[in-house]
């Protein structure tokens, strides 16, 4: 367990994150309501120029299908651009180390992984990616995937909002999320990171002769601009293979705390934005309480057995902050790591898996979307138990609505558990040296969980750079991203124009509902995944493989 000072630092960091999230939420809400803002004078001309150049009709409102398809097709084209850059980087500029292009399967995997906010990496950045790839493939997709997730969130909330005629315009939401939120915030954060010690240069790797006379290569590059958006956008894919354990990405305790706050910032802020967009601020309550209660449970599980400074843990970060970070990074589905997962206690891994299986504690840009999915499931269950017609926000929940949310929920176990079994049955797991004991099983289960949840933390790294793992995880990542978004948009789109009564039954903005919500999330997630968790980290725990994973 943790000591009092550590407990205090948990409360302080979470408190500050929630407070800043709350403070910026009215501004973020304005991005989607298009309310007049002080930044209009500067940004309206820029945005209008973009709309004109791109042929966007900003007043055009989209139905859910058009909104979804616009986002999906923009994302697919962005994947294609990244694929071309990654696979042909050897012929392109800004490649001072002369790295060759990536293989087709690794290029596909990387493009899909980054365009979907997953950032699972089967490559080592500092020895395989040119500066152009790090910028125009990786950083580019880190911005656009974060923006896409936030847009999808906004569209889904619009469907539930009284008086909405459509889901909004994807292109307008996308442009405004970039120009008003991610680029300006990312700009400030990147400069703070440079100040704290993160490099930002286009000069090649620096060669030095060390004090004792050996030659050493220092892999600098455009790092700070990447770290800024990777944490802010809940992306998690690092510049270096060691991710945020590398001192150039996370040079000191200050940068470590800053990056943790950044991971929590937007997902938490969007919870408040949810209430503000709906025009019912109290409806954000169950989502906030639910998300942070589940987050607290994950923290508690991870802290039962403190990780100490040892192999796989960086000195400047230490065991406590490595564990705390792992929970933040998986619960906020970011996926960056500041220690080797193999150095983590099985209970910390169990907590990480739970964060990714829930996806809403607080999740990423689409965290609130998953929470709405759980809310609908919960009102349905409560409706069954009390014999009343289930209602949410005064709207009657129909059989079709429940089928849509159940499908959105069940996709997740299907795309995690089936490929896990296939990886073993086909021999693909054994081919990269993964055993069929509880440790190996945990690693394979983790690989597909991180893919399905669009998280990106992993045990394997470049060792999973095989055609099987590149392509199978790319498929899981793609389905894990777009299938739930499409289904939830369909649900939300069908709410437009539906009759809304006054809430007579269950009050979803109450504390008691929040607790029922937490309970039902734990029950549905536990029932679905328990057998697999039992074969993995739970078995490891009982086998006493303490600090022995991997």
């Amino acid at each position: 367990m943790i000591d009092a000072a550590q407990g205090f630092s948990v409360i302080l960091i979470l408190g500050v994150s929630v407070a800043i999230s709350w403070l910026i939420s009215p501004y973020v809400t304005g991005i989607f309501t298009r309310a007049p803002s002080r930044v209009d004078r500067l940004l309206n001309p820029v945005e209008n120029l973009i709309y004109r150049l791109a042929g966007v009709e900003p007043t055009h409102g989209m139905g859910w299908k058009e909104y979804f398809l616009s986002g999906l097709l923009v994302n697919i084209l962005q994947m294609a651009v990244a694929f071309v850059i990654l696979s042909s980087q050897g012929m392109l500029p800004l490649n001072p180390q002369s790295f060759p292009g990536l293989n087709w399967d690794l290029s596909i995997h990387t493009a899909v992984s980054f365009a979907t906010n997953t950032n699972l990496q089967h490559y080592t950045g500092e020895t395989m990616l040119s500066y152009l790839s790090q910028m125009a493939a990786v950083q580019f997709l880190q911005f656009t995937s974060a923006a896409t997730g936030i847009c999808m969130f906004a569209a889904i909330v619009r469907g539930f909002t009284v008086g909405s005629k459509d889901m909004g315009n994807f292109y307008v939401d996308f442009v405004r999320t970039l120009t008003r939120l991610l680029i300006p915030l990312g700009f400030v954060v990147a400069l703070i990171l440079v100040w704290l010690g993160v490099p930002q240069t286009l000069s090649g790797h620096v060669m030095v002769v060390t004090v004792e006379g050996a030659t050493q290569k220092l892999p600098v590059g455009p790092v700070a601009s990447l770290v800024s958006i990777m944490q802010l956008g809940n992306n998690g894919g690092g510049y270096y293979g060691a991710n945020a354990a590398h001192p150039f990405m996370n040079p000191n305790p200050q940068s470590n705390i800053l990056e943790m706050v950044l991971m929590l910032l937007l997902p938490t802020s969007l919870i408040f934005v949810f209430g503000e967009l709906l025009g019912k601020k109290r409806e954000a309550r169950p989502i906030l309480i639910g998300a942070y209660t589940l987050f607290g449970i994950n923290l508690f599980i991870a802290f039962i057995n403190a990780t100490h400074l040892g192999p796989g843990i960086e000195t400047r970060i230490g065991g406590f902050f490595s564990t705390f970070w792992t929970v933040v990074s998986t619960s906020a589905t970011t996926g960056s790591v500041n220690a080797q997962l193999a150095a983590m206690h099985p209970l910390a891994i169990l907590s990480a898996l739970l964060g990714m299986l829930i996806q809403a504690a607080p999740g990423s840009g689409v965290g609130v979307m998953y929470m709405v999915m759980y809310v609908v499931i919960t009102v349905f269950i409560v409706g069954l138990m009390s014999g009343r017609t289930p209602e949410y926000l005064g709207i009657k929940i129909t059989g079709r609505d429940v089928r849509l949310v159940m499908l959105a929920f069940l996709i997740h176990p299907a795309i995690i558990l089936i490929p896990t079994i296939v990886a073993y049955a086909s021999g693909a797991a054994a081919a990269i040296g993964v055993g069929s004991d509880s440790l190996g099983f945990t690693q394979v289960l983790y690989e597909y969980t991180t893919s399905a949840a669009n998280n990106g933390s992993d045990f394997f790294g470049a060792s999973a750079n095989t055609v099987f793992f590149n392509i199978s995880t790319a498929i899981v990542i793609f389905l894990g991203r777009y299938a739930p978004i499409g289904l939830m948009l369909a649900l939300s789109g069908s709410m437009i124009g539906r009759k809304r009564g006054t809430v007579v039954g269950l009050k979803t903005d109450s504390i008691s509902f929040s607790m029922v919500l937490v309970g039902s999330i734990i029950i549905v997630v536990a029932l679905t995944f328990f057998p697999f968790l039992a074969l993995g980290p739970i078995l490891s725990f009982f086998q006493g493989y303490v600090n022995g994973l991997g």
């Binding site: 791109a54 292109y171 680029i183 590398h246 000195t315």
Partner: protein, 155 residues
């Protein structure tokens, strides 16, 4: 018939144009302008950090304070060699203290002076966060600077 077809094409073009336009514009904004602008500003305003905090000894670059380098001679503090990044530039304060007697035996520098230098180079405590650690390259460079006679044959 022809009219209908051309109208359909126009409509299709209209719906595909934003997909291409938004992709190109976002690539230029996020993938090129953003990192290039940050690079320019960082190079002008914070060039030491932006270039990897390279340190000099006798006018030559000998490494970065953020990247561990190998020290094997007994006269120096040694880094750890088991960390996650593989280039952990720091050791704990206890680890640094534990190496003092070896350096004292190899160089003859009084233990109290070594302890003083370690203490001067201790960092990592931010209010209540974290536990103290020592930057290995920085403390070794300090040793060389403070006791040039003890190190003149080795560097």
């Amino acid at each position: 018939m022809k009219d209908r077809k051309s109208r359909l094409n126009e409509k299709e073009r209209a719906s595909y144009k934003p997909i291409i336009g938004i992709t190109i514009i976002s690539l230029l904004m996020c993938g090129l302008s953003f990192p290039l602008l940050i690079t320019g500003l960082a190079q002008v305003l914070l060039s030491n950090q932006a270039n990897g905090q390279i340190v000099q000894l006798n006018g030559r670059s000998v490494g970065s304070t953020l990247i561990a380098q190998n020290f094997t001679l007994p006269i120096f503090f040694h880094p750890r060699n088991d960390s996650a990044s593989g280039v952990d530039p720091h050791i704990t304060l206890q680890d640094a203290y534990a190496q003092i007697s070896r350096i004292h035996n190899a160089t003859g520098i009084p233990s109290s002076a070594l302890e003083e230098i370690v203490n001067q180079n201790t960092e990592g405590v931010l209010l209540i966060f974290g536990s103290p650690y020592v930057n290995v390259l920085r403390v070794n460079l300090m040793l060389i600077k403070t006791f040039p006679s003890a190190y003149k044959d080795s560097v």
